[in-house]
């Protein structure tokens, strides 16, 4: 089957961020400001992406508002024909910057939520006063009518607050609430014990989301990312490696997913040296786990292989020691007992390890 063009691109404009969330999906080794792509190079990447067939651009980070050229980048992306989505904590999004982003044609904002009150949110974000600034920015976003998704990152320490989270999203005028349970990559791997939800929390969350999405039908849409350690089958990582989306790191390295650099034997190319199209279609890293031919057993003879494509490669590496193995989350994986063992590590007394900026 020929490789389809990508639909979505995550542009990690910077790793810099005023918050230091202990589940940050940025890698443990972060790019310094000096290593970031300049404005012209990002704009060239956006144009290349649009020409290849990318439709959705996620402007992310770190905190993308840490880039002073965010407005210029947004304008250029929109002019290239991309749908522009800003993934932000809203720290640094002043009314003036929001005006400029609106004028630049920004389509949508995804606002992260660390907790429903200052005490919890500022503890998780590791930034005193962050919650208050975020709530002010949320009001400024709503006042302008910019389409808003609230992305509530949920885990052991805030899942019991889900009802209030849903209420808050409605009050803030969000059209969509993403209840995103922490996935254990990046900094979250240092905090599994403190962040892993209980089985009861997971079941309660599923029921609450199902009930609320029925009750709020037509008012607010829901997306639910369950904690996959409790699932029977793995998630379809990125909809299949190198099939729908790509990720450009702050220094221009192009990745099939944000955690792919944890796989040591893969070499990733850079937009400074190679055209994006060539990286997507021809690079060894993007072809390493593309499609289903590479799948091992029990995936190869499984009727779910076109559904989950063997699950997450980074998780297979982290838990089974082999990026080419079946994702151990799968009940059919010979390494599934490793996931079961992880569940036993959860501990309410465990301290948080915060991310550290480069």
């Amino acid at each position: 089957m020929p490789t389809p063009p990508p639909i979505a691109m995550l542009a990690e404009l910077t790793h810099r961020c005023p918050l230091s969330c202990p589940y940050c999906s940025n890698p443990l080794e972060m790019a310094a400001k000096e290593a970031e792509l300049d404005t012209e190079t990002w704009i060239s990447v956006f144009r290349q992406a649009a020409e290849m067939g990318v439709l959705q651009l996620h402007l992310s980070g770190g905190e993308p508002a840490s880039r002073r050229d965010l407005e210029e980048l947004t304008r250029a992306a929109r002019e290239a024909g991309l749908y522009t989505n800003l993934i932000t904590s809203a720290i640094g999004l002043t009314p003036r910057r929001l005006d400029a982003l609106e004028a630049a044609g920004l389509d949508h904002i995804q606002l992260s939520l660390q907790g429903t009150n200052a005490q919890l949110a500022d503890k998780i974000g590791g930034y005193r006063g962050g919650f208050e600034r975020k709530m002010q920015a949320a009001e400024d976003i709503a006042k302008r009518g910019i389409p808003l998704t609230l992305n509530a990152v949920m885990h052991r320490q805030n899942l019991d607050d889900l009802d209030r989270t849903i209420e808050m999203a409605v009050d803030l005028g969000a059209r969509r609430l993403e209840v995103a349970c922490v996935q254990f990559h990046g900094w979250a791997t240092k905090n599994i014990a403190a962040l892993l939800p209980t089985c009861e929390q997971t079941e309660a969350a599923k029921e609450k989301v199902a009930e609320a999405s029925k009750r709020l039908r037509g008012v607010m849409a829901f997306d639910f990312v369950p904690p996959d350690y409790y699932a029977d089958y793995p998630k379809s990582c990125m909809g299949g490696w190198g099939s729908a989306g790509l990720n450009v790191a702050p220094d221009g390295t192009v990745l099939p997913c944000h955690a792919a650099q944890t796989i040591p034997h893969l070499q990733f190319e850079n937009v400074r040296d190679t055209a994006l199209e060539s990286i997507w279609y021809d690079s060894a890293a993007f072809n390493a786990y593309r499609g289903t031919d590479w799948l091992p057993e029990p995936c190869q003879s499984c009727d779910r292989k076109e559904i989950d494509f063997g699950g997450c490669r980074c998780q297979a590496l982290a838990l089974a020691g082999d990026a080419g193995a079946t994702d151990p989350v799968c009940v059919k994986s010979p390494d599934h007992h490793r996931v079961v063992a992880m569940l036993g590590q959860a501990d309410d007394e465990s301290d948080l390890t915060y991310r550290v900026n480069a």
Binding site: G53, P147, R175, G218, M220
Partner: protein
């Protein structure tokens, strides 16, 4: 709540939702927050008539005439399609 459109409702695509000519794939897509919905010819025919002015009844009548099809059948199909979009907040009504 029931999301079915009444005959006098005037549907529209809210800010952040728009039709896009996807030249690479040779199709029209509906772009919405963090989502691209690939449209078939029928979806395009419906959504190009959704402009905030035309009522649901007018849209049905227009489609029935253009495609020379029974209005009742058209109404069922269009209603199902638009309710699906409304549930995701990709469509609103005046």
């Amino acid at each position: 709540m029931s999301l079915a459109l009444a005959p006098e409702d005037r549907p529209y695509l809210p800010r952040g939702v728009r039709l896009h000519d996807d030249r690479v794939r040779g199709s029209t897509v509906l772009l919405a927050p963090e989502k691209a919905v690939d449209l078939d010819q029928i979806g395009v025919a419906i959504l190009t008539r959704v402009n905030g002015d035309a009522t649901f009844a007018q849209i049905i009548a227009d489609l029935a005439q253009t495609y020379n099809a029974p209005a009742q059948q058209i109404e069922e199909d269009v209603q199902r399609f638009l309710v699906g979009l409304r549930a995701r907040l990709y469509l609103m009504v005046h």
